[in-house]
Amino acid sequence: MSTSQLALAVLLLPAAGAILLAGRGWRLPRIVTQIVGPGVVWASFAGTLALFFSNASGDFTYWTWIKSGSLEVPFNLLVDNLSIFMCLVITGVGGLIVTYSVGYMEHEDGPSYARFFTYMDVFIFSMLLLVLAGNLVFLIVGWAMVGLSSYLLIGFWYQRRSAVLAARKAFVMNVIGDVGMILGAFVLFVTYHAITYAGVFKGIAGPSCPPPSLLVTCFRPIPTDSGPLELAAFLLLVGAVAKSAQLPLHTWLPDAMEGPTPVSALIHAATMVTAGVYLIGRMHPIYDLASYAHGAVAIIGAATALFAATIAIVQTDIKRVLAYSTMSQIGYMFLAVGIGAYSAGFFHLLAHAFFKALLFMAAGNVIHAMHDEQDMRKFGGLFRQLPRTSWSFLIGSLALVGVIPLVGFFSKEQILGAALSKPDDTLALAVWVVGAVTALITGFYTGRMWWMAFGGKPSPERAVEHPHEARLVMLVPVVILAALSVVGGFIQMRALGIGPSAVSDFLASAVGPVRWEEGGGVVMVGLVTMVLAALLFLAAYRVYVVRSWKAWSANVPWAQRLLERKYYFDEIYAAVFVRPMDAIAGFGMRDIEEPILDGAVVGTGHAAVVGASSLSLTQSGYFRNYVLVFVGGAIVAAVLVLIRSGS
């Protein structure tokens, strides 16, 4: 099988699974759904592995989709190390999560069960299309389709009003991003008269560059006309910000936790929300030249990292803590790609996919054991009762904090180290400060989450006295991810200056090599930061379990309130956008639609009815009445004739 066929198979296998399950799934026995649903994802993973091991690369055009004047949109797939990397994450972690869903969703009835796996496979297909697309049009198609699958899966339990509202919110926010993406693609097309990545990047690099071997362009030191480039970069950034739940378009992600937990793990932690990072990395020739937009990426990332981490300190819903943590960690990735440390950002993407999917699925096991209770205040003391889940959760938590030698340490240290040691860049230094502070806060809120849920004694409010450990199908993926979180870091030990640097070497052909080396002392700074974060993790024990230390919030109640209300973002958006829109719509409904438009239509009908019924009174049915009218009319006519002839 040639590379192009293999790439197409990787893309289309999940789509085939989705079509089968959508058409016949609810009529076939449940076992078919259980095999086909995860099976196609694993098949796709196998294909991706084949691409990976054959060092495949190329830009394969299958057919021309639209040809109109100077616009030619081919259906082409771009297979390079970046897309293979993303496909490995999507199908690998995705396969584990879809397998986990076999157990997690077992309480659903037949049609819902098949529907869930249909949506999951649609999502995997959309996400693969997003990362494999070789032109902006199919990128946007994939971009919109992952938004759609996210909408469908957040609203999976459509009987719940809150789930439907959350799905709608996510969709609206994502459409804002889609509009940005489409406008960005327009700007690029108008400027460079090309819609494929290769064409656009060739246009950016200019004719003096040698034809790009795939997408590594030669760098022009001074862009001659960076205006449209900056504009396109900012518009694409709007899409990335909306999809990755960064400030200020982040409010949908915490609400998206209304969806089933595997959905949160797959879409809202491991894959879809990292699409923004992929976009910036894929478009790096643009961002390398558009320095203002590039700086904005770093600033947004740093701001979101800090902002989300502070909110996570006070949340009590375990999934919402993880959601804010996800926002914060994606902020790190934005920070990394924003300062140009692309491979560091992607390494953190990989690491985050491991430990955050692990945390979500372990949290799902806990939620299952607690009979759908998500409030951590009602957990407590689960460590003894759910040992396997607890150990996995602990590993995920420590990876999130960045405890050496877990994967989170290497990835986070690489980002912070890159920021600290970037030469001649005060912005990088500033985002390093924010990133380091965020790392400390991460330690604290992760510790709080861990100790509240698993440490101490069972909460008096706990509903389930003797929780049961999850089934094997729900434990194995968790344990595999825990193992990956432990050993994953060793593929990229650049942070320590020793050992392999597999991720950055692998991605060098797609996003460029590492542009600057870390200084020697930087590693020490990173180590100290991570140690402090780990100490804060332990400090949370004294605050939330032993309670020998007074909770920090007792001294600053206003800050606690500010965080609990999530900096009032929802309230501000409601006041600035939602309520004025509601008012305008209400005005149109109440004062235009109902009285004027509807009034005219209804009035016409009403007048006809009233007129007809009053005229029908003349039809008395009495012969003499008709004759009387007739004779009377004849007399009147005769009189009129007489008057006329007389005058």
């Binding site: 008395s620 049915g621 009495y622």
Partner: protein, 109 residues
């Protein structure tokens, strides 16, 4: 010119017209006030014949034959009308006895 010779005696034309008007008025009043369907039909015949009389009088007076032709036409129509009217009545009488035309008011609006 306002008198006509009929059977050797001179008669003023206005007498005939007055007679026609009286007959027509009797007919119209009968249609309006009588309740029996048959009587109403007869009254309609009376009105038609009053009109025929008027037509013929004017025909003679104006020495225009068209008036008499029109009277013949009118009689034909009257015959047809009588046939249709009587047929309807006979049909109604098959179903029920109608003594008062007001009983036939089912088609009121």
């Amino acid at each position: 010119m306002s008198s006509m010779t009929i059977g050797g005696s001179q008669l003023d034309a206005s007498w005939f017209l007055i007679l026609g008007a009286i007959l027509f008025t009797i007919g119209a009043a009968g249609v309006l006030v009588r309740r029996n369907p048959l009587v109403i039909l007869i009254c309609i015949e009376l009105m038609l014949n009053a009109v025929n009389l008027t037509l013929i009088v004017f025909s003679r007076q104006l020495e225009n034959i068209e008036g008499q032709l029109f009277a013949l036409m009118s009689m034909t129509v009257a015959a047809a009308e009588a046939v249709v009217g009587l047929a309807i009545l006979v049909d109604i009488f098959h179903v029920r006895d109608v003594e008062d035309i007001d009983e036939l008011s089912e088609l009121k609006g």
